[in-house]
Symmetry: C2
Subunit: 421 residues, 2 copies
C-alpha cells in the first residue's frame, strides 16, 4: 500500500498553524508498515482540493486526509470527497446522536449547522469523535481508499488510535504492538552503533530510532496475527536493548524524564525539592507537569540572585565569594539547602550560564553544574552544553533541566521500593 | 506570483520532525503579498523530487524549497534542481571560503564532503548561511523561479530574513515593512469585531490577525517604494489599533508577555518576585527566558505543598485551614510573602486547580487565583480557565502563567519610568 497525507486548511496553508497532524500520521502509518511518499497541504478550496485528490490517487492507493470537517460553509472536504467517489451524502442517525450528546456533555447549545457534520457518504465506515463533534470516515472504491479525519490534533489523534488504526489492522489481517524505549545520556549515533550488530537488523519486530532534544527513543514494533503474539515478540527485543544500553534507558512507554522521576520517587515513598538558578523554574515546572506530582514534590526555590541563594537556601557567602555562583560548591549547597527547607529526601540544583551573555573563557556559556543531595548519595555534575554546538539559551536551559531530572531519577533508584503497596 | 512550498527530507516525510519550515515560509510569503497555494513534502529521492518540481511548476511560478543541502550523498535537492533547470554545477569560491570560515569559527575540522556544499548552479543568486555551512540559492529561467534553502530552521529563517526577503523585494520593486501588535486578554473574534469597521478593511497597510494560546497578534504590513515610506504608512494603523483596543495591547514587536514585563520593570528600576503553586515554576521559567532578567528578578518560590506556603511564604495556617490553598486570601498572602522575602517591589502569585484531578463543584478544574502585591496596588484575579473548554493541564497552567505575567506588566506600568537613563 502506498499512502499520501493530504491536509486541508487555509490556516495551515498560510502558516498560521504548524502542521503537526502530518507528522503524527506519517509516524503512525510508518509504524504499522504503511510507507508515506508524499505529504501535501491545500486550502479550503473545492477546486484545488479535488485536483489534489486526483494527483494523490494517481500516485498511491491510500490517501489520509485531515481538516475541513467543521460546521461552517467553508468546510468542504467531506463534500468534495463524496463527489470524487460518487457517493451521495446521507444523514447518519448515530452520528447525529453523538453530536447532540457531545453538546450536552460540555453544556452548550447545539447549533443547526452542526447537523451538517452528521452527513456521511453512502458506504462509508464511520469513526467516532471522542473529543469533538465531527465524525471521521473511510471510503473505499476500486482499490482506492480515502480516510478523512478532523483537523484539531486532539480530535484527530484520539480518532486515529481508537478508529483508524484498528480499521487498517483489520484490513491487513495483522495486529501491531509497539513499545517505546526512552534513552537519556547517549546520542543517536552511539545508540545505533551499539545496536547495529543485533537489534537494528531485525525485520519483525522492527526497531526505529527517534531523536528528541537530548534524548533518543527507540520504537519496537512487532506484527502478528493477534495482539498477544505481537506483544510476546516485542519483549525479547526490549530486553536486549536494555541490556545493550544499560542505565541510559530510563524507561519503557514512560512519556518523559519527569514522569520517570515522579514514578520512581512515588514507588519509594520519597520526596524531592529543587533549587534552580540558570533553569529559572524549569525543573519544578517539568516535575509538576506530571499529574499527582504533589505526592513527591512540595517545594522548589528559584534563586536567581546570589543574595537569595544565601538567604533562602543557606549557601555560604564565602563560597559565593570564593568560588562564584556557577561552581560545584554552590550547586552542592543549593541542593542541600532545598532538601533541608522542604524536609525532602532528595535535593536537586542547577547553576550555570545559559547565555547569550555572561560567559568568560573560564566559565563559558553552556557551563552548568547540577547538584544532587540525599542521605545515600551526593554528587555534582559538570555539564558543558555549549561547546561546538552554538546552542541557544532555551536549549541550554532545557538540557540542563533534563540532566537534573535524570539525576533525580537515578538517585531515587538507590533507595528500595516500598513493599506496603 | 503564485507560490508553492516544497520541503524535502525523509525525516519530515516519516514524521520524525514536524515541518515548521512550511509554516514559517507560508506566513512570511503571505506577509509580503505572495500567496501560497500548495505545500508539499517529499523524501530525499531524486525521481520523486523531480516529479514534484514538475507538478509544482505546472501550477505556479515560484517554488520555495527547503532541505537536502547537507554534505552527504543522500542530500540531492541542489543536484536535482540544477538538472531540472539545465544549469551545470560549479564550485563557488566565495561559498567555499564561507564554509571554511564557519568551521574555523566553531573550532572543528572541515571534512572533504563539505566541499560539495560550495557547488552552485550556473547563474544562481547565492544566499549566505550565517548559522551553518550550506549556502542557499535562487535560480530563474523562463519565468519560473526556484529558491532553495537549508532544512534546519535556525539556518533557514535567518537566511530568509537576510537574503531571500530582500531578493523578493528587489524583484517586486517594492519594500515591505511589518509591525506586530501583541494583545492579551481579548479573543480573536472580539478583536476582529472591534476593528472591522476601519482597520481590517485596509489594503495598504494590511492587518492580519494570528491567534496564539491566549493571545492575538495583529501584523500590520505596508508596501511602498522605499523603507521610510512603508514605515510611515504603518504608524497610523498601529496607533489606530492601540486606540481601538486600549490596554489589552501589551506591546508592539515585543516578542512575548514575559519580555514586556521584564522591559517594563527594567525601565522603572523595579524588581519582581514570584510565588507559584499550580503553575509549578512556569512563571519564573518564562521570566528568566528573557536574557538579562536577573536585573529585575531574583527570587521565585514554587510552594506546591501547603506546608511550604506557610513555612517559606508566611501564609497563615488559619487562612489555609479556613479558605483553602486555592483561594483569593492565600493568593494575596503568597504574593506578599514572595515580595517580602526578596525585598521586591512587586510580588506575583498563582494558586489553582490545573487538573485533571482535584476539581470539586465549588472549585472546578481551571479555577486559578493570581495574586498581585505592590505598595501602589494589590489585587487578586479569579480565572475560570476550564469552563466549556475541555482544556488540558498544560494549557491551563500556561494560561494562568500568562495572566500572572500580564498582571505583573500592568502593575509595573503604575510606576513612573526612570529618568536617569
Amino acid at each position: 500500500m502506498k499512502a499520501e497525507i493530504l491536509c486541508v486548511g487555509t490556516e495551515i496553508l498560510l502558516g498560521d498553524i504548524v502542521n503537526t497532524n502530518a507528522a503524527y500520521l506519517a509516524r503512525e502509518l510508518a509504524s504499522i508498515g504503511i510507507p508515506v511518499y508524499h505529504q501535501s497541504v491545500v486550502g479550503d478550496n473545492p477546486g484545488r482540493l479535488a485536483a489534489a485528490l486526483q494527483t494523490a490517487f494517481g500516485r498511491g492507493d491510500l490517501v489520509v486526509m485531515t481538516g475541513g470537517l467543521g460546521p461552517t460553509y467553508d468546510d468542504l472536504t467531506k463534500e468534495t470527497l463524496a463527489e470524487y467517489f460518487g457517493s451521495p451524502l446521507r444523514e447518519d442517525a448515530k452520528s447525529l446522536e453523538s453530536i447532540q450528546a457531545f453538546f450536552q456533555k460540555i453544556g452548550r447549545e447545539m447549533t443547526e449547522n452542526n447537523r451538517k457534520q452528521a452527513l456521511m457518504p453512502e458506504g462509508a465506515v464511520i469513526f467516532h469523535n471522542y473529543n469533538g463533534t465531527a465524525p471521521g470516515l473511510a471510503l473505499e472504491k476500486e482499490g482506492k481508499t480515502a480516510i478523512l479525519l478532523p483537523g484539531p490534533p486532539r480530535e484527530m489523534e484520539l480518532m486515529y488510535e481508537t478508529g483508524v488504526r484498528p480499521y487498517l489492522e483489520r484490513r491487513s489481517g495483522q495486529v501491531l504492538v509497539s513499545h517505546t524505549v526512552h534513552i537519556f545520556g547517549m546520542g543517536e549515533s552511539a545508540v545505533e552503533q551499539l545496536l547495529r550488530p543485533t537489534i537494528s537488523k531485525m525485520e519483525n519486530p522492527t526497531v526505529a530510532p527517534y531523536a528528541k532534544t537530548g534524548e533518543v527513543q527507540l520504537r519496537v514494533t512487532a506484527r502478528a496475527a493477534d495482539k498477544a503474539a505481537a506483544e510476546a515478540m516485542t519483549q525479547p527485543a526490549v530486553e536486549q536493548i536494555r541490556q545493550a544500553l544499560g542505565n541510559v534507558v530510563y524507561g519503557v512507554d514512560i512519556g518523559s524524564l519527569q514522569q520517570a522521576a515522579v514514578q520512581a520517587l512515588a514507588a519509594r515513598g520519597l520526596t524531592a525539592a529543587t533549587a534552580e538558578s540558570c533553569t529559572g523554574g524549569l525543573v519544578s515546572k517539568r516535575l509538576t507537569e506530571v499529574p499527582g506530582a504533589s505526592a513527591v514534590f512540595g517545594f522548589g526555590a528559584c534563586t536567581y540572585a546570589n543574595e537569595m541563594k544565601e538567604k533562602v537556601l543557606g549557601v555560604s557567602p564565602e563560597t559565593l565569594e570564593r568560588c562564584g555562583a556557577v561552581s560545584p560548591e554552590t550547586a552542592a549547597q543549593m541542593a542541600r539547602g532545598a532538601a533541608r527547607i522542604a524536609g525532602a529526601d532528595i535535593g536537586i540544583s542547577t547553576t550555570g550560564i545559559a547565555g547569550p551573555g555572561g560567559g568568560t573563557p573560564e566559565k563559558p556559556v553552556g557551563l552548568v553544574y547540577v547538584g544532587v543531595w540525599s542521605r545515600r548519595h551526593e554528587e555534582v555534575l559538570r555539564l558543558d552544553l555549549g561547546r561546538g554546538q552554538m546552542r541557544e539559551r532555551e536549549q541550554i536551559r532545557y538540557l540542563a533541566a533534563s540532566h537534573a531530572l535524570h539525576a533525580l531519577w537515578r538517585t531515587a533508584l538507590l533507595y528500595p521500593e516500598r513493599t506496603d503497596g
